[in-house]
């Protein structure tokens, strides 16, 4: 995790929103992270347009790969994973960017989502992005990632950003062309995310899963 940019929250506390970028790229450098950074830039700019200052935190899932396997087997988060979950719990919006393998997200990304505390993404605006070696995976976002995020209760932004290798060769374009160039899709997605975030109050702190919510008298009465 690293804070990449964002002004000091103390200057305008009420207008700050936490944008958490979850990048599932495996390589270093990774094209998934490259896309994630471009989408982040777009989201930050769009949030600024609606008067919100983004504080960005990035979770690189590859850095958590061994911790995730440990937790899958022991059921207990490692300190590093606990920290990452805390970052997600504080998010006002999440940007999930994943590589596509064999038509879907890789297990490492699924592990991260599986291991998140229950309801970590419920009701949360989530913008999805994906990279793949070929444009033939373009609908993986719709067929694989969106249903997964829906299952987790996320408020998924309508536009998902898919980038095949060749998309990185295009820099400009217009929405009237047959194929919408990557930069236009990124821009549109950022705008949609910002609009969703702007409609919502800042996230209240996540409930402590180990806090007591009912007295024993209530438990005895079956409540």
């Amino acid at each position: 995790m690293s804070t990449v940019h964002g002004p000091d929250a103390r200057t305008a506390p009420s207008a700050v929103r936490h944008l958490v970028v979850v990048s599932g790229g495996v390589g270093q450098p990774s094209s998934t992270r490259l896309l994630a950074d471009r989408m982040t830039g777009s989201a930050v700019a769009s949030l600024a347009v609606v008067g919100l200052t983004a504080q960005v935190e990035v979770v690189d899932v590859r850095d958590l790969a061994r911790d995730q396997t440990s937790m899958v087997l022991t059921g207990v988060p490692t300190p590093r994973l606990g920290e990452a979950f805390g970052v997600v719990a504080a998010a006002d919006a999440v940007l999930l960017v994943t590589p596509i393998y064999s038509g879907s997200y890789p297990g490492m990304v699924k592990d991260f989502l599986d291991l998140l505390p229950p309801d970590a993404l419920r009701g949360l605006p989530v913008l999805m992005g994906a990279t793949a070696g070929t444009a033939r995976h373009a609908l993986a976002l719709e067929h694989a990632v969106r249903p997964l995020l829906s299952h987790l209760g996320a408020l998924v932004v309508p536009t998902g950003v898919f980038a095949a290798t060749e998309d990185f060769g295009e820099v400009t374009g217009s929405t009237t062309a047959d194929e919408v160039p990557l930069s236009v899709r990124i821009s549109r997605a950022g705008t949609e995310l910002a609009e969703l975030v702007a409609q919502r109050a800042p996230r209240s702190p996540a409930a402590d899963p180990f806090a007591l919510t009912a007295s024993f008298e209530e438990l005895l009465r079956g409540q």
Partner: protein, 381 residues
Amino acid sequence: MMQFGVFTVGDVTADPTTGRTPSEGERIAAMLAIALKAEEVGLDVFATGEHHNPPFVPSSPTTMLGWIAARTERIVLSTATTLITTNDPVKIAEDYAMLQHLAGGRVDLMMGRGNTGPVYPWFGQDIRNGIPLAVENYALLHRLWREDVVDWQGRFRSPLQSFTSTPRPLDGVAPFVWHGSIRSPEIAEQAAYYGDGFFHNNIFWPSEHTAQMVNLYRERFEHYGHGSADQAIVGLGGQVFMRPRSQDAVQEFRPYFDVAPVYGHGPSLEEFTEMTPLTVGSPQQVIDRYAGMRDVVGDYQRQMFLIDHAGLPLSTVLEQIEILGTEVVPVLRRELAVGRPAHVPDAPTHARLVAAAGDRRDAPVHALADDVTGRSPVVVP
């Protein structure tokens, strides 16, 4: 005084260094040998798990503990855990009261819910009702040991009219109960409500989590008026492997750790020992680590060690118990007694419970319904 003991899951697991899997009979015999060894070296408690699915053998804890009771004189026999969800609380009341008589009071229990979904329907239950089952069943069990004649109706079990659980608890005093939970605040609350013990089996968990759960229990214990927070009755799990030289311990234990059920193929031995109470090293390292546990949870009453899982051969396990009993526990007893406030209770025993109740009370009950009023007779002590 604190109590120190060993608890066993009763898993049948291949020894990864030889590939040999013990038979069920061998595993059961090994559990008995472990209990006898624990008594021999002066440990205070032996506790067995309860499981109803392979590869675990201890499906009938009171049968096993009854055998051990007949061959021991001092050690307290306990469970880790008794399934309060899928067992009929009436049968728990009867079985453990009988065991209490056979063992001369050297019996307590740790209640647990069980986390294996398919086991619940085998006993007519549903894991999604885990907490409500634990709450209702224990509420009944608590009454069955304390009231000679019980009328009762609940959600999960057929009603009882004029029911007397026999035999009545030894000396009129119910066995002490611990409530074991790793991550459910409701169970810490349950333990606090009744003034029972709370056992945090922290063997997979970092100390901050253990401290949070124990502190919740302590606060609520005080809230329910059983005493001050530091007088609540706390037990902890632990896991150790020892050799005189720490590098020998690590070398010998690593092949068992690396493929152990539950955590094998996951975290490294080094990561796991840092994150959890698992200590692999010299007896002195174990002493240092466990002497520090009271800094996490406050002065506490019971420390249990897991020493026999993952296919470790019986001979090795018996050596571990020997080291615990001769080198580790005597030092921990001394060190943890230093600075322990006088108002912090000793570990619960039958004798202490009888003393707290005033005196022993033998209560034969002949519960015949009164055929005029239909009500049960008042029992004359």
